[in-house]
Symmetry: C2
Subunit: 341 residues, 2 copies
Amino acid sequence: MRPTVHDIAAAAGVSLATVDRVLNQRPGVRHVTREKVEKAIREIGYVRDVAAANLAKGRTYPLVFILPASDNSFMHGLNDEVRAAVARSPVERTDIRTLEVPAFDPTALVRVLDELGKERPSGIALVATDAPEVRDAVDRLVQDGIPVVTLVSDLTGSQRHHYAGVDNIAAGRTAARLLGRFLGGATGEIAVLAGSMLVRDHRERLEGFASVMAAEFPLLSILPVIEGRDDPEMAHMLVADALSKKSGIIGVYSLGAGNRGLIRALKEKAVDRSLTVIAHELTTHTRAALLDGTIDAILNQDAGHEVRSAIRVLKAKADGLAVIEAQERIRLDIFLKDNLP
Amino acid sequence: MRPTVHDIAAAAGVSLATVDRVLNQRPGVRHVTREKVEKAIREIGYVRDVAAANLAKGRTYPLVFILPASDNSFMHGLNDEVRAAVARSPVERTDIRTLEVPAFDPTALVRVLDELGKERPSGIALVATDAPEVRDAVDRLVQDGIPVVTLVSDLTGSQRHHYAGVDNIAAGRTAARLLGRFLGGATGEIAVLAGSMLVRDHRERLEGFASVMAAEFPLLSILPVIEGRDDPEMAHMLVADALSKKSGIIGVYSLGAGNRGLIRALKEKAVDRSLTVIAHELTTHTRAALLDGTIDAILNQDAGHEVRSAIRVLKAKADGLAVIEAQERIRLDIFLKDNLP
DNA sequence: CCAAATCTGATGTACGTAAATCAAAATCTA
DNA sequence: TAGATTTTGATTTACGTACATCAGATTTGG
């Protein structure tokens, strides 16, 4: 049987009340007594029954998700997953609130973060815009003892407790190798479509992509990055233009969102050119394009996993508990037309 | 505030005791009263607080994992993950026991399953040997109300509640497409190394592999399958032999275990031949081979995820609760040298 | 050594549910 | 309608922890 507070009391030769004072760091315990109790805790291997503790406390975990107000499929999917988590709230004892902030706007994000500092929720998950002032705001929260995890996009040099997202450098490298291998030993140009170089995940993907390309596929040259602002219309225009002008393009790497526009451009301008195309994020549009052969591979991050992981980590940090590291690692999913879920 | 049993009692106009009788399907409640209570439960949207219920019951979940006594890295890894779950037992209220049975031995497996039927654990997870008598034994357990999940390898036509493993047909198809694409438009022969055609996962991988190869890569022909019994020594001998005799081999698909032997054979016989190689299961050996270029891609199933998923599902089934489907889907991981964890 | 301050023990209630007991009420049977 | 039977209510204890209160013990300062 698992040891309880009574066992600690017996082992340490003190009363239940004293054990409670030590466990919940309440005042009024002499130093030596405290040590005696802590020793007993270690020796009998006591671990607090979190379920019982939460029951007694009537505890819930007020959590806040800060998401960018972006109108693309990926962010919509992320939003859906947060809503699904809200639906599970009663069972998981969470109390989740979602805040929308303008995308790519550090100032707005900082303002929201600073306000949350006063409110002191049990935990905060945010899709970070990678700017020094955001990093400082997050670090203030962390210093204040509020658990913070970054979601999807990380925050350079910050003290955030955890990052629930994929390794984007690895994603870029993987895309490069897949593209390089799929193209056999061909010579030609590669077009790269990004959202914005202001977000860290896109920068990192590009960095990984370029480094593997340079090192291992010297016959393929990367054209200047097209920035489509994750917007389908803009992406369509820019990609169509590039395809018209550059006849040497034999491959495309789309590392951001807005793939709806990319796919349309490909169908209009390149049906006959048999391009090899790799894109990020599995959505209804990219899925259809993968199945009909317009896209050759999709790299994906599972938004549901990211949200669930963020919640688990925030709850664990709020209770000062350990997490199962391997469970919280967000994988880079690679989908070909054969292994779609 | 979330509704409690007291709220049901008030809403239905009955006593707490009656509510308890209905909730825990105890006898002694008239049909009309039962209906009245059930209606109230639905109307106020009551959901049992599982944590509180488990606390009151002092409940633990006795679970049994049945694993084959195979001496390969994958099964060792699976074993490690079960042990890790045992270490978490106090927190998760599980009480996990592992049983080893001879591999590929339906009779032994049936004997063990039948005995567990008497013992009535809260749930059973097994790596199934795909045979009718095993299926029948599992179905008896299910009929008896014992939750059963298959792990890694599924059981054809059985009533098991869940399968915690990858879609092996999709895995084979994916391997075929990767291999076909990596080989560009080359012409040649593909060697396939399997463990045994007696286990369903290997059969399915081959099936998926062969179908995509035939349909989409007609220039590549599949050689007769080499069965290495998941044994490194045997695999080494057979593969080395094949490489010596067949000079037309340009690709290898290893769909089972025993990759240690395969890798040794490749290094001895094929350093100069630049074969394209795809293997299953990420182990220290395959990881090293991927990094040094001997292997081009590894398809993997995450044993840790499989074990944790099996436990979650068994617990949920034991309590009659729903699971988060997406969370329990075991993905096919594709590793290139760039996205290794 | 006494009073004041500090520390410790004993005890009770609460969280939401399970499970048991016993009494009372309702229903059924003859 | 009496008596047996079934159904329902009321109440209590328990699970492991949190938290509060008050009394008693020990330590500290002067």
